[in-house]
């Protein structure tokens, strides 16, 4: 052991910054259809490769290929397209509404629509999602009333959450959507706890936990993996790797050379990496994982590889920290375009139909917005009565809060 030269701190940097011309040709994109589909009761150790590859179904020609293909029929695929377009139309309008001063804040999921929209299709009534703020697709692909989402975003008099929560922090037990937290990652562990409760009770419900790739660095990600693996909780653990965490590229959270999915292997959890912009691939992998959970085989970890095209939130401007053309250079394409092309390839879809559907959905969103505005907007009101802000801190209002409410003049 000879004397060594001075150490220096290595700090990972993204390849491209504003002004650079992004080139992702060095990012290995496995061929569609190439990944095997193991039986659901497989041992994690036998499918380690699936944590390092990308499971893809649609190839560059828009065909669905390989063992993970052929799970959805034409109608289901059209519904998927409609769901994604609805999310996209909703995001556009709500981003605009924030700019117009109708609310304080909004977060879009542009480019990531396939993930939540496809995933929701494998769930059953009674299952529970523990989402982050970028899974509006879980609600917008079900029959949850869009107008209630806007009421929430506007914190208006009809807001189901009484104006208490930041916009987009929806909650709907009935629709299997756990109340969103502003604190990252906490829901990841809670979903595991919820799933354990289902198993404790001998029920058949399963849970899904969601987390961004940046947030995998948080405590609750680790706790979630530990508890899920120890108790074989009936939960699907989803990492949405959209490459960015506000201004921070995924390399800061990922470190080393491994993938986010591979973190599950150290816990003996079957771990899959999937093309998150491929509706068919997400659906197939979700179905596989949900089946494992339902059959009591335990958790599955899924890394959905995608790209955050939009700003982090309406408070953010990504042009300050990433190259302008990154999103268009991104090698996995646009989930909506890709599904559209697949449907056209199948011979059941056309540009005209697509256009018509888009317009129909834009009208649907506009109409919901109109309805919601009847109940008010954040800055102009009306809101729920201010006295209600003292309610529901506890089931029954304790004396000190009764006194404070009185002090406040209510």
């Amino acid at each position: 052991m000879s004397d060594t030269p001075p150490l220096s701190l290595y700090v990972p940097e993204p390849e491209f910054r504003p002004g650079d011309k992004p080139d992702f040709s060095n990012v290995p994109i496995p061929q569609a259809g190439a990944a095997m589909m193991p039986p659901v009761d497989v041992d994690a150790g036998e499918i380690r490769d699936l944590a390092y590859t990308i499971i893809r179904v649609m190839n560059r020609e828009g065909e669905a290929v390989g063992p993970w293909a052929d799970m959805l029929d034409d109608d289901q695929l059209k519904e998927g397209l409609e769901d994604m377009l609805r999310v996209r139309a909703f995001d556009v309008r709500m981003t605009m509404a924030q700019r117009q001063g109708k609310t304080s804040f909004y977060m879009q999921c542009l480019g990531e629509e396939a993930i939540a929209c496809a995933f929701s299709k494998v769930l059953k009534p009674g299952d529970m999602n523990f989402p982050t703020y970028r899974q509006q697709g879980l609600l917008l692909s079900t029959d949850y009333p869009m107008v209630d989402m806007i009421n929430q975003i506007y914190s208006n008099a009809a807001d189901p959450l009484m104006g208490r929560q930041l916009p987009i922090m929806y909650s709907s037990k009935e629709h299997g959507f756990f109340t969103i937290s502003g604190n990252l990652a906490t829901q990841f562990m809670q979903g595991v706890g919820w799933a354990m409760a289902s198993a404790i009770k001998g029920d058949t419900k399963i849970a899904t936990s969601w987390i961004g790739e940046g947030s995998t660095a948080e405590n609750d990600f680790h706790a979630g993996l530990v508890f899920a693996s120890t108790y074989r909780a009936p939960v699907v653990l989803n990492i949405v790797n959209n490459q960015w965490a506000i201004s921070t590229f995924q390399g800061i959270a990922r470190g080393g050379a491994a993938t986010f999915a591979s973190r599950g292997l150290g816990f003996g959890i079957p771990s899959l990496r999937v093309d998150g912009n491929d509706y068919l691939a997400v659906y197939a992998v979700a179905k596989w994982a949900a089946e494992r959970a339902r059959r009591g085989l335990g958790p599955t970890l899924i890394e959905h590889v995608t790209y955050r095209i939009g700003a982090h939130s309406t408070s953010d401007d990504p042009s300050a920290y990433r190259a302008k053309e990154e999103s268009t250079s991104w090698p996995l394409g646009d989930p909506v375009e890709r599904l559209k092309e697949h449907l056209i390839k199948r011979g059941v879809w056309s540009d005209a139909q697509h256009h018509q559907m888009k317009e129909m959905l834009e009208a649907q969103v506009a109409e919901a917005q109109k309805q919601a505005e009847k109940n008010g907007t954040l800055h102009d009101g009306p809101h729920s009565s201010a006295a209600t802000m003292f309610d529901d801190v506890y089931k029954e209002m304790p004396l000190h809060l009764r006194r404070q409410r009185q002090e406040a003049g209510f």
Partner: protein, 338 residues
């Protein structure tokens, strides 16, 4: 009725709750087969099965986070943190989650869970087995904080906590587990079997959250106190002969403000006692409430007798602990004040 230690009473409360309601589950580090390092859960796994009482990985984040998720599901977790000193890794799940979920979801989801934890010093546990962190819970809107001082209350309050629909932090003064502690560490230990509050009904009963108990009626000074210090205060009153009214708060939040105000209106003087460090401790809140609401009745400055603002030292434990001498001095001082 049985004679029980505080450990037995706590165990009996969980047993009673688990027997009455399938939804009650118990878990934490070493609580399963072994029954917990203080043996509070002994026998529960054998009786109710591994799926209702089990060991967890050493992750307070995970323990509380799992409990939150389970409570949201609709079951009632009663979890153990091995020492209150180790609750901090779970603090985010308590503050940001358990405490907020009812409010932020407008009752769509609720968190009926209990987090039990042994608290306080006096066992030569050093700085990480002696802490009293009640103030960092009491400051958090949306959770309740309970500290019993005897077996009877421990069972009744724990049952009330498990049945409560809001999250409850349940702090168990470990120095009281096996007997009431008068604060004289150099005297023989008295067992609970010699104390009237060691007599515990075998059946289900509750002690309501938010109701204080007057442990000693008195005319001269109101002592606001909870947990281990209740017994120390009793000793101090006895030893000084000061006619103190000793109020065992039992629940810090919700607080029985009416009992406090009523007593102080009678006595005109107030001593506050806790083992936790002073600055921003729960005693500060009590002093503030008294100063705000009983000002015109006060005849002397409020005095706080507390742990000093430093980590609980090992060798100097008994210099640190606010024993009967320090409490007694405060009683005398508050009586001397004009």
């Amino acid at each position: 009725m049985s004679r029980m230690t505080m450990i037995q009473a706590i165990r009996n409360a969980m047993d009673t709750a688990m027997g009455r309601d399938d939804n009650v589950v118990v878990f934490g580090e070493d609580v399963g087969f072994f029954g917990g390092v203080f043996r509070c859960t002994q026998g529960l796994q054998e009786k109710y099965g591994r799926h209702r009482c089990f060991d967890t990985p050493i992750s307070e984040t995970g323990i509380v986070g799992a409990a939150v998720g389970m409570a949201a599901y609709g079951i009632r977790p009663c979890v153990e943190i091995q020492f209150a000193d180790y609750v901090y890794p779970g603090y985010d799940q308590i503050v940001s989650e358990a405490a907020r979920i009812r409010y932020r979801s407008n009752n769509d989801f609720t968190v009926p869970m209990v987090v039990r934890m042994p608290t306080g010093g006096g066992i030569f546990g050093g700085q990480t087995h002696s802490q009293s962190p009640e103030a960092v819970f009491a400051h958090v809107s949306g959770i309740k904080t309970v500290i019993p001082s005897n077996p009877y209350d421990a069972k009744g309050l724990l049952l009330a906590s498990i049945e409560d629909d809001d999250p409850v932090m349940f702090l168990e003064p470990k120095r009281l587990y096996n007997g009431p502690f008068d604060g004289h560490h150099d005297r023989p230990v008295t067992p609970w079997s010699k104390h009237e509050l060691g007599e515990v009904p075998d059946d289900h009963y509750t002690v309501p959250l938010g109701k204080a108990a007057i442990r000693r009626e008195g005319a001269d000074v109101t002592v606001l106190v909870y947990g281990t210090m209740v017994h120390v205060a009793e000793t101090a009153a006895q030893e000084t002969g000061v006619d103190a009214e000793i109020i065992d708060l039992r629940t810090l939040l919700p607080l029985d403000m009416e009992a406090i105000e009523e007593s102080i209106k009678k006595t005109g003087r107030c001593v506050i006692v806790h083992e936790a460090t002073r600055t921003c401790g729960y005693g500060a809140e009590l002093a503030a409430i008294v100063a705000e609401n009983c000002f015109y009745h006060l005849e002397a400055p409020v005095i706080r007798v507390t742990g000093y603002d430093l980590p609980y030292p090992h060798a100097h434990e008994w210099y640190y602990f606010p024993g009967p001498k320090r409490v007694g001095d405060a009683l005398k001082k508050v009586m001397e004040a004009a």
